[in-house]
């Protein structure tokens, strides 16, 4: 059994984001980097499956990006992945989801993975496209937004999180790809001794040029902060009228009223 888990390194979301000189993405200086939170769940699930299956199962972790993503790969290795693949790409941040998916698919296509795990989306770009697109490129069965996962003999039983906390139960036949949602499991901390041991695990480095043949399909033309909040509004008057005014404002300015 061969398993692949795809991870992305993203800035700590508590950071202050400033547009880079290019104006189309954030300035990367002074940021602390983390494994994309969704991907931590993906790695944890993959490692649990690896432990369930035991010997004869190989778990590979893949990440695309500049040198620093080596740290995210090491973290995944310390959590229990067997080997790493680092697709070297200093310009990964400028690639659209279509290209990122194409890189992963190009790497995975001849490897015979039975299962691929990804996060449901990245915290920084948040497009929720890469996993599904990889599955399409490879012709794998796919389900997104997993909050429950079980594997038995070539069949994945997945619980998808739907709106309002309802779950949809789905069965997939391998080869399959699933995208993982927060709360799927409790990602372990890589222990310090395991981080040390991870130094000895292999990380294969592949230049992105060997894998990417696709042009982007979409372009980011601007990266900017949201429009500033106007000063607060004060509503006074008769209760019935106030309720209507507030309803109007909430409908216009927030996304919580349906």
């Amino acid at each position: 059994m061969k398993i692949l888990v795809c991870i992305k390194q993203v800035p700590d979301m508590e950071s202050r984001f400033k547009p880079a000189a290019s104006g189309v993405w954030y300035d990367e200086s002074d940021l602390a980097w983390r494994m994309n939170e969704y991907d931590e769940y993906a790695v944890e699930q993959a490692v649990q499956l690896r432990e369930q299956l035991g010997e004869g199962c190989e778990l590979t972790v893949l990440s695309i990006g500049p040198d620093r993503v080596g740290e995210a790969i090491k973290k995944a290795l310390a959590m229990g992945c067997d080997r790493g693949v680092h697709v070297q790409d200093d310009a990964a941040a400028t690639k659209d989801p279509w290209q990122i998916a194409a890189i992963i698919a190009a790497y995975a296509k001849d490897q015979g993975y039975d299962l691929i795990f990804t996060g449901m989306q990245s915290q920084d770009r948040g497009s929720a496209q890469v996993g599904v697109t990889v599955a399409e490129d490879l012709g794998y069965a796919c389900a997104t937004t997993l909050v429950g996962f079980a594997y038995d003999n070539g069949t994945v039983t997945a619980k998808r999180e739907l709106e309002g906390g309802i779950k949809g139960v789905v069965k997939l036949t391998t080869p399959a790809l699933v995208t993982c949602q927060l709360g799927l499991n409790v990602p372990r901390y890589p222990t310090l001794p395991n981080i040390m041991k991870a130094k000895k695990k292999e990380i294969q480095s592949i230049p992105v040029s060997e894998l990417l043949k696709e042009e982007p399909l979409a372009a980011t033309v601007s990266f900017h902060p949201p429009a500033k909040k106007g000063g607060g509004i004060v509503l006074e008057g008769e209760v019935g009228a106030l309720v209507d005014q507030l309803m109007g404002i909430l409908k216009e300015k927030t996304t919580v009223l349906r």
């Binding site: 740290e71 090491k74 973290k75 310390a78 222990t191 040390m196």
Partner: protein, 383 residues
């Protein structure tokens, strides 16, 4: 010296996350109950924190001092009591064995200390021998292939939890000073070894300190660290050279957190129609604190690098400990001031830190003792 930067960064990220998710949310509770819940200690154990400084061949992480300090700077963003739990295994409670122990002693204790299966304590201070540790009176009298220990050790960190004590005792009553002292590894449960009641401390509630009483306590001769009489005080000083740098890092970590809390408050709190952070008198306190933290941090890292190059750091570690421990108390005092009345109220972490950090100027050599060491070393060099 940093052996592998990216591996260290992964460790730091892990510790940061652990501090944020598992330690800070519980620090107030631990302080209030004067107890760290077992689950948290288990998690610290699992994470491998007890083995930071113990060499890899004894199942520790074998971090260089610079690496250890980089981890400690993060760990100490949470209450210092969490560091205190691992503190003796990483520092004074294990270092005697690491530095001067026999191969057998290392094999027997270090893997367990590294795993946090057992806790080690360091018992030097006595009721009548604090700063003047070389005057200690605990006696160790040879009786066949055993020694019989008698005396009282005071303020021993983690003694209630410890399984093995590094006890300093006088094997040669003829030599009054340092030369008559040997270091023994005394295990919990040895007949004649008992504990006093836990002291009620000013701060660092959740970390425990008590007397260790030795009443005709018989230990085999093989329990002397290095199986060599009369070098115990040297061992103690070598242990302290290294661990003072560690304590200095603890101070820098705590100060960083305290300043964060003060800054957060200052930008939020409004008086006279503006955030108090806009007042220059507040800014001065913030800026002085920032500069002093930066200075202490640089000192600690520089000292650690020197240690990793196997150079003598007696002066530098005392300079770092002196400056950093005094610094963190100034920073804490300013933070209380910036918070105004709230800084005096328990709900704010600053109030707790203010009490917690006061200890750092006292143990592992008071500030005055650091001054003496520094000055003595200076004078020795010119004469």
């Amino acid at each position: 010296m940093i052996k592998d930067e990216s591996t260290l960064n992964v460790m730091i990220e892990t510790v940061q996350k652990f501090v944020k998710e598992r330690l800070i949310p519980f620090e107030e509770q631990c302080s209030e109950n004067d107890e760290i819940p077992h689950e948290i200690i288990d998690e610290m154990r699992e994470l491998g924190l007890f083995g930071l400084s113990i060499p890899e061949e004894y199942d520790g992480l074998g971090l260089t001092l610079e690496e250890e300090i980089s981890v400690v700077l993060e760990l100490c963003q949470a209450s210092p009591i969490f560091r205190s739990v691992i503190g003796t295994n990483v520092g004074i409670g294990a270092l005697g064995i690491v530095i001067d122990g026999t191969e057998e002693q290392k094999k027997k204790y270090l893997p367990k200390l590294a795993a946090g299966e057992i806790i080690g304590s360091f018992a030097l201070t006595e009721p009548d021998a604090g700063s003047d540790a070389a005057s200690l009176r605990t006696s160790a009298v040879k009786d066949g292939d055993h020694y019989v220990l008698n005396g009282t050790k005071r303020f021993i960190t983690n003694a209630p939890e410890a399984s093995v004590f590094t006890v300093f005792a006088r094997t040669n009553p003829e030599i009054k000073g340092a030369g008559g002292i040997s270091a023994f590894l005394v295990e919990k449960g040895t007949p004649g070894l008992s504990l006093g009641k836990n002291e009620k401390k000013m701060g660092q509630w959740g970390g425990h300190v008590c007397d260790v009483i030795l009443d005709n306590c018989r230990v085999p001769a093989s329990a002397i660290i290095g199986e060599k009489e009369g070098v115990g005080f040297k061992t103690a000083m070598r242990v302290l050279d290294k661990s003072r740098t560690h304590i200095a890092a603890v101070c820098v970590g705590a100060a960083t957190r305290i300043l964060d809390e003060a800054l957060k408050y200052a930008v939020e709190r409004k008086q006279f129609n503006k955030p108090i952070a806009e007042f220059q008198l507040i800014q001065a306190m913030l800026a002085d604190s920032k500069s002093e933290i930066y200075a202490a941090r640089s000192m600690v890292l520089e000292t650690a690098r020197k240690y990793d190059l196997k150079k003598n750091i007696s002066t530098e570690s005392s300079c770092s400990k002196l400056f950093a421990s005094e610094m963190v108390c100034r920073v804490a005092d300013r933070a209380v001031q910036i918070l105004g009345g709230s800084g005096y109220i328990r709900d704010y972490a600053v109030e707790r830190f203010y009490r917690d950090v006061r200890l750092f100027r006292l143990y592992e050599g008071t500030s005055q003792i650091q001054q003496l060491i520094i000055a003595r070393n200076m004078i020795k060099e010119v004469s």
